[in-house]
Symmetry: D2
Subunit: 345 residues, 4 copies
C-alpha cells in the first residue's frame, strides 16, 4: 500500500500518518519527493484494506499494490481451474456449451429444444425456473415445477442442467434438481445469495453485473470461494453501454483480462450481451477466439411465443449452424468441446 | 404499442403480424409509408408487454407508448406523495435530512454522532447493521446487536431510524427495530428482497442501482408498491461513470426526471455519489436546488478509524455547516425541513 | 512518479529500471515491500511524463503524483480567475448568463430574441454561425453573414457575443466579429483549433467533450493557456450516459471538482446536458447551487421552426421565469450577475 | 417518421400537428389509440429530419423509421465495398493488416520496424507524423519530415502508408506523401476535417470516437462520402468505459453491427482498444472472428524509448507470432490477407 500525501501536508500530519501505520503493527518507508511525500507501507496489505487510510488528514491518495482477492487470484493458483459439472468439464482447454430457452415453459417444448441443442452438440442445458423480471407483472417462472421438468429433461438426454437461483432461501431446493447454480447479473453483488451458493456443493455460474469491473466480478467469485466452494465459472454477458443499438455492450477483452488475473474459467453469453440474434454468432466466435472457456446461447423453437426474451433467442437451426462454426474454430484454437459423460439417445 | 416492420417485410409476414395481434384480442391499425409499414396496436399495452413482438418475423422494432410502471406513475397519482417515517415527512415540500455513520459501531460513538447531527437539524438517523461489503474479508456489520443499538439511539433522540436490509430473510427482524428499511444500490434489482419489503409495513428507501436508468428505478419501486407498500422514497446516489476522480457520477437530473414521471419523493446521497468530502456540500446543495425531497449524508466523528467508508464521511462540524447552508437554501426554495415528531432533549 | 514493479520482477529488471531513471538525470528511491518493489522517482515529473515508463520490463504500474497541467492548476494560481468578456465578468463571484438561439437565423428573429433575453437579464448573447451538425445534410449555419448579424445584435443591445468556431482557418474571421470564441464539445480535443484560439486575443468558452474526464478538459484548457491566451471559461454541458431519457448526462459534480483543481471559471449548459426544456430550469439551478460561474441556455421564440435543436430551446417567457429564480438563488449564494458594460436601450 | 403525442394532447394541438405536416407537403396518418394518439408521416423522411418536430406542442416523442445516413447504408449498396489502398484491398474477404510505430521516429528505427512487420506479413505501414497529444508539452510529431520518411519507407518495402491528418489545412500535404489518410478518434466529429478528406482522392481510415455510437460513426463516414470520396474504411478502436483496467473498452460487436448496416469495411485496433500488450493478441483474434476486415497494431522495437504510447506497443517478435495466429484464423474463416502489389525484397 502506498500513501501519497497532499502537497501541503504538514510535518505533524506526516508524523501522525506514520504513527497510525505503526499502531497497526506495520513498517513504513518515507520518501520525500520534489513536490510530494510518499509513504510506502510494508506488511500485510489485507489488514490495511480495512483501514480508512484516505481519511487520515494529509493523505491525498491510497494506491493498493495487490489485488483485493486471494483465492480467485492466479498468484494463488497458477494453473487454470477446470470446473466439473456432473462430468462436463469447463476450463483448461475444455469448452462448456450451454444452450436452452430463457424460461422453462411447457414440457413438450422443453424436450423438443433439448433434443435439438443436444444433437447440435451442446453439453449443458439451461432454462429459468425462477425469473428475475424487471416488471412485477411479467411471467416470474414456473418455480419448483420448472426445476423438476429441467431435471427430467437432463436425465433424458444426459445433459447437465444449469438454472438460475435468485433467493438465498431457494439455494437448497435448486441444488437438489440442478447440476449447476447460476447467479444472474442483477444478483452479482447479492452477498447473501453468494454466501449461500458458496456453501452449496454445486458448481456456480457467476454472471458479471452490468456495471461491474472485472475486479468487482472477481471479488464476488471470492465470496463464493471463501465459503468453500471452489467450482466457479465466470460469465461475461455484456455491460451497460451508451449505444442503444445493442441491449448491452459485449466486453470481449474481459476474457483475456480474467485469464491474466485469475485461474477461474470464463465463458461468454452473446445472447444477453447483444440482445440481437443477427449479432450473436459473430460475438460467440469472437468470444471463443479471445479465449473463452465456453459459450452460453438462448435457443427457442418459436421465439414469437416465448414467455421471456424471445426476441433474442436463436432458432435451433441457427444454433446448429453456429455450433458447427464454433466446433471448427475450437479445433483451430486447439480446444475441445467437453464430451457428455454418457449420451443416452 | 407500435410495430415498425422491416423494409423487406413480405405481405405474408405482414398478414402474420396482424393475425398475431388479433389472436391477442386487440385491434390494429396498418399504415404503409413510403419506405416502411407500421402497425399500431390499440388496446391494453400491459398485455402486449409480455409478448415477444420483436421476435415475430418481419418486425424490426417495437415502440412502446406507455411507461411500463403504473402505481409509480404520476398519471396514476398526480399529486406528489408524502411519505411519513414515524412522524417525519418526506416529499410534497417536506425535506428528509438523513445523517449518520456508514456502519453502526460502538455505543458511545453512536450516541455522540446522533447527538451532533440531531443538534445540526437532521431528522432521520442512519447506520448500517448489515453491510453489503465488496470484500468477504471486510467488516460485515454488527447484525441484530447493531439494530438494537440503533433503536436505542433513535429512542433517546426522538430520531426515526433508517437502516439497510440485504437479505429477504432479515426483513422482519430489521422492521422490528427500524423505522425505515433501506434497499441498497447493489440490491435494487434483488426482486426477492423487493417483494419482502413490499410486504412490510415500514417505509422503504430505495437506492438507485449503479447502472439503472430512471425507468429501471421506477420499475423496482413498482415491485414494492405492487405488494401493497406505498411508502417508497427513491434515492439518487450516483451511477457508474468513466471519470475516476469521483467514486460515482452524481446524476442530478434524475431528480426532476423522477418528479416528471412519478409521484414518489426522491432524495440525494452526495456521500456515495462523489465519495469525496470536499465535493459533498456542493452536490448536496445542487440536489436541493434541483428539487430533491431530502439529503442523505454520512457523518463520522473520527473518519480515520471508521469501520467502513471513512474516507467519504463528513465531520459533525462540517455537517453542521452544510445543514445551515441547506436550511437557508430550503427557505429560498419554499421548502421545510420536516420537524421531528417530538424532540426529547 | 512512482513505479510499482511486477511481483515477479527480477533483480536484473530492477537494476535496469534504476539505470533508466538515472539516465534521465533523476534520483530514485527503492522500497522493497513484502510482495512488491516500488521505485519512487524524485525530480521533475513533467520530464518523466514523456517517457514510456510502463514499457520498461518489470514495471507493472506507473502512478503519477502531480496533475499533468500546470497553467490551469490552482497550485499555479490559487485565486479564482475572473474572465472579462468585453466588460462582462465571469468567475470570482460574477455570473455570466449566456442566452440565445442554437443557430443564427433571420434578422428579425435575432433582434426579437436578443431583446427578450436582454430584458430578462442575460449578459451574453449566443448564436451559431458555423454549426457542427452530425448530418452533412443538415443546416450548416449562415457563416460570415451570421457573424455580422450577431455583431449588429450585440452592438444594438450592448450584449457581448459568444459564437462557436469549428475550423482553425476561421478563428481570425470569427474573432473579428465576436467577443468570445466557443470551442464545442466535439472539438474539445481538436488540438489544431485549440492552438489557434490560444493565439487569439479573444476569451474562449471551452466546452467539455462527451467522453472527457475533468482532467482531459483541463489539459485542453492548458493547450489554450500555453499559447498565451489566459482568458478561458470552461463549460459542463453533459457527458455520454446510458440513460436515453436525457440527451446527455449532466455531471454537476464537475463544477466543484474543477474549482478544487483549477482557477478557471466553469459555467453549466443545461440545454445540451438534458436536451429537455422541462428539465432545464432544475438543472440550471442545480448548477448555480454547485458553484457554477454562469449558465448557458438556448432560447428561441418559436422552437417548432428553429433551424437546429428547437426541441431543447426555452421560450423567452420560460427563460424570463428561470432568470428570476436564478437571480434569487444567486443572491442567496452571495453572487452577482455581472452587469452589462453599458446598456443601450 | 412517427410522432407519438402526449397523453394530454388537446384536439387543437393535434390539429396543429397535422397542419404542420401538411405545410411540409407531406401526408399523415392519424391513429387514436386507447391511451395515446399517433401520427405517421408518409413521405421523404430526410426532409423531416431537419424539422424540430419534437418542439411542436403536444408531441411527446419522434420515432424515425429510416437511418439518417444514405450513402453509407447497406440499403444503398448491398454488396460489401472493397477499398483499394495503392493495390492493397480491404473488405469483401480481403484483410488489411496495418502495423507500425505510434509516432514516426528516427530513420533507422523506421526501416527496422518496417522490415520486421513486412516480413511478418503486414500489408500497410503506419506511423504518426502529426500527433494529437493530450498534453501540449508532449512530442507533437516530426511533421512533414516524418511524412517524407514514411514515403521513403513505403517505397523501399512496397508497403502502402497510412498516417493521421489532424488539421484541414494539412490534408493536401499529407495526401501528397501518404497512401491512406487516417482521421483519429478525437477528430471523428471534426466536420471541417471530414469535409477536406472527403474532397481528397486518398482512401480514408476513419476511427470511431470514444463516445460515438455506431450510428454516429456512420454519419461521419457519410460526411466523407457526401463529398465524393467513397474509399472509407472504419475502425473500432475502443470506446469510453468504466473499467480502468483497460485503456478503452473494445466494442467487438460494432464489427457485425457495422456490417449489418453498411457496406463499408471495418477493421479493429486492439492496441488503442486495450492499451495493454498482454491483451492485444486475444482481442485481435476476437476482432477477426467477429468479421473484421483487418487489424491495426502498434509495433515498436524498443517500447521503453518510444516517443509515444510505448506502453501499448508489441515487439516485432510478438507481432510475428500474432500474425501467424491471425493468418491461421483468416484461413479458417475463408479470408485472405491482401497481398502487397509487388513485394520488393
Amino acid at each position: 500500500m502506498i500513501l501519497i500525501l497532499k502537497s501541503n501536508a504538514t510535518d505533524e500530519q506526516i508524523e501522525h500518518v506514520l504513527e497510525r501505520v505503526e499502531a497497526m503493527g506495520l513498517q513504513h518507508h518515507l520518501s520525500r519527493g520534489t513536490y510530494r511525500t510518499i509513504v510506502g507501507i510494508i506488511g500485510d496489505e489485507e489488514q490495511l484494506r480495512e483501514e480508512p487510510l484516505r481519511a487520515i488528514p494529509g493523505v491525498a491518495k491510497v494506491v493498493p499494490v495487490l489485488p483485493p482477492y486471494k483465492l480467485a487470484s492466479r498468484d494463488a493458483h497458477p494453473e487454470p481451474s477446470v470446473v466439473d459439472v456432473s462430468g462436463v468439464k469447463i476450463g483448461g482447454g475444455y469448452l462448456g456449451m450451454i444452450a436452452g430457452p430463457c424460461s422453462v415453459e411447457d414440457r413438450d417444448r422443453m424436450f423438443r429444444i433439448a433434443e435439438a441443442v443436444c444433437e447440435s452438440g451442446a453439453n449443458l442445458f439451461r432454462g429459468g425456473a425462477y425469473k428475475p423480471r424487471t416488471s412485477p407483472y411479467s411471467f416470474q417462472g414456473l418455480g419448483e415445477e420448472g426445476l423438476k421438468l429441467l431435471r427430467e429433461v437432463g436425465d433424458k438426454f444426459g445433459l447437465p442442467i444449469v438454472t438460475e437461483v435468485t433467493d438465498p432461501r431457494l439455494v437448497e431446493t435448486v441444488a437438489q434438481h440442478a447440476d449447476m447454480l447460476q447467479v444472474g447479473a442483477r444478483n452479482m453483488q447479492n452477498f447473501a445469495l453468494l454466501t449461500e451458493v458458496g456453501r452449496s456443493d454445486r458448481p456456480v455460474l457467476l454472471k458479471r453485473g452490468m456495471s461491474a469491473t472485472v475486479n468487482d466480478l472477481l471479488m464476488c467469485a471470492e465470496y463464493i470461494l471463501s465459503q468453500g466452494n471452489s467450482q466457479v465459472v465466470l460469465c461475461e454477458r455484456g455491460i451497460k453501454g451508451f449505444d442503444s443499438a445493442t441491449r448491452n455492450l459485449f466486453d470481449v477483452a474481459a476474457v483475456p483480462l480474467v485469464h491474466s488475473l485469475s485461474h477461474l474459467p470464463i465463458i461468454v453469453d452473446p445472447s444477453h450481451a447483444t440482445g440481437r440474434p443477427d449479432l450473436i454468432p459473430s460475438c460467440a466466435l469472437a468470444g471463443l477466439a479471445a479465449g473463452a472457456d465456453g459459450v452460453h446461447v438462448e435457443v427457442h423453437d418459436c421465439p414469437e411465443v416465448a414467455k421471456s426474451d424471445g426476441q433474442q433467442a436463436l432458432l435451433p437451426s441457427q444454433y446448429d449452424e453456429l455450433m458447427s462454426q464454433m466446433r471448427q474454430l475450437a479445433q483451430a484454437l486447439g480446444k475441445e468441446i467437453s464430451p457428455l459423460p454418457e449420451k443416452q439417445f
